[in-house]
Point group: C2
Chain length 352, copies 2
Amino acid sequence: MAKQTHPTLLDIAKIAKVAPMTVSRVINESGYVSAEVRQRVRRAIDKLEYHPNALARSLKSQRTHVVGILLPDIKNPFSGELAGSIQQVLLERGYSAFLCTTEQSVQREQAGLSAFFDHRVAGIVVATLETKAGDEALERFTRRGMPIVSVGREPGLAVVDRVTANHWRGAFDAVEHLISLGHKRIAYIGASALHARRLRRFQGFCDALHEHGLDVRDEWIAGPAGDSGPGYSTLADGYAGMQRLLDLSRRPTAIFARNDFTAMGALSAARDRGLDIPGDIAIVGFDNVPLSAFTSPPLTTVEQPTAEQGRRAAQMLLERIEGEVEGEHREVSFDCRLIVRASTQTPAEQPE
Amino acid sequence: MAKQTHPTLLDIAKIAKVAPMTVSRVINESGYVSAEVRQRVRRAIDKLEYHPNALARSLKSQRTHVVGILLPDIKNPFSGELAGSIQQVLLERGYSAFLCTTEQSVQREQAGLSAFFDHRVAGIVVATLETKAGDEALERFTRRGMPIVSVGREPGLAVVDRVTANHWRGAFDAVEHLISLGHKRIAYIGASALHARRLRRFQGFCDALHEHGLDVRDEWIAGPAGDSGPGYSTLADGYAGMQRLLDLSRRPTAIFARNDFTAMGALSAARDRGLDIPGDIAIVGFDNVPLSAFTSPPLTTVEQPTAEQGRRAAQMLLERIEGEVEGEHREVSFDCRLIVRASTQTPAEQPE
DNA sequence: TGCATATATGGTAACGCTAACACATCGGCG
DNA sequence: CGCCGATGTGTTAGCGTTACCATATATGCA
């Protein structure tokens, strides 16, 4: 067992020849301490390289300065940027982050949430997809008075405040953009029809088609090969999905991909078949990852303000933690923005 | 102030009509407890949804089950994958992760390390670039008996165990691959000559050229525009660097990029100039990010086993924490692997 | 029957810190 | 001169948990 030993308040007190309480006062700059004693204590602190034990402090004060962040998977660039922006706000206000990624595992989700709870974090930011067990756990936590903010989740129960982007609208706009270019055969890549229903981006896709009198054809909805569930969709999923769509006798002329990586996979598959983008087939992505501006052709996509969402979520959480805000759940929704690049244009003539 | 209230051992003890110590025994499954009492206690625990306070436990037992992870920036896919693989091992062994990303800020690095220390983490995994202040802090921590494992860092001081990949060799192999194809004018994109010196990938690049009697020309070393330091190099850096190289009267015929994103930026810049890859100019990346197989053309690159490094680092750290291993610092180095794809081929004839 | 051992439970103190209170000493002022 | 508030320091207790010791009954065996 690697044993660590650390000096305590008492050690400092002995060296400075004062009571522990006085040392505490120096550290917290609270109460009265004479200049002379303060200096003596400071010197002892420096000498021993003393750092207060946050565990003991938290136990005594019944509050921590730690926030739990629950993310789906860290490879997803959305998660990364979110974590970074949340952390920035936390650090500025003297909080630290306890992080857990679930990687689609309910077990990991439970383990992570338990760890948060056991360590009595001051609050939690959740950015995972809803699960039954997860929602129940969160609900238990809120009953104990733990502030929670969700990011990018459906308006579920159990949650105090909610930050999200209008994915539905973003998808709607993207698909309407394709329609306005003259596309009538528009496919979706990113989740099976079964799982897609839960996704707002997919709903926006469907609603845009309906609004313009176009069909949502089942064969034009391409999920991952093994239908692995509603998790993040990858390059390989996009590639495989596009291949399936291109094998159809009645091909789509445009693709709405669930995210940029899926779009890039689709792009790659089309290119490998010798097709021209956007001449033969148009592609729209979602998320505006940095790379989307550098593909060939650059990808038309929808931007969601990820960092803003993270910052806002952190701020809202801290407001709850510090008791600046109480009462009703709050909801903040950010707009998405269509970014038209070269991967979309009017379709070539096609046989009906 | 959002106040949380949690039941304690004492609450359970009262309900189950036993002493707190007995409850503790039930929870930890230590010592003797009769079946009947155990059941009574269990029922009380379920009724109140009691969860032991990890803070109090840690304070008493003088050990935590929390590991600090210090990362450069989370957007970097290497960091993401590393964090994920470390976490997996930690969770399996009942540990949780305290995470901090430095984003090139010495101040954030210090704040993060202090937070780790104040919370008395059981150990630390560091994957940031060396800084003077950071090394000093780590050295102080080791003096206190805190186990530390570094990943991907130089063999610096202050650190117990070290996990790394042989970046030098990977770069050497990649450049030798270009040379074997007949390239003689090979450029580097990713850091200014000043900062590149510290990078093993750059050293491998230089050494390969020297070994084959080729020059390392200063004008063929392209760093980011503002020379922003040794941090991660981006798509935009690659794009801008390639533009500068293509403006030279004496152009390179091949590019060794510091990482895949830089390579993709370079690829994009070359394409925008109407150049053919690899016909006009060959490009090699580094890291084998998923996307590198899907660019056009797919990118020749060097793979480093990121997840293995993370898992190994976590294992080594846990071995130290649990006292299974003591004494001398250990070093583990993983091999990189050249992955030849379509972005490299024999150069076209060029005027000398 | 007596005594060692296994089984079962409780009491006390301590981990490191700080809120709350107690107790000084000092200057100022009616 | 006595009283008040400001200033400076110490004492006590408790946050929730568990290590350690004490106690009590049950069981086995000579």
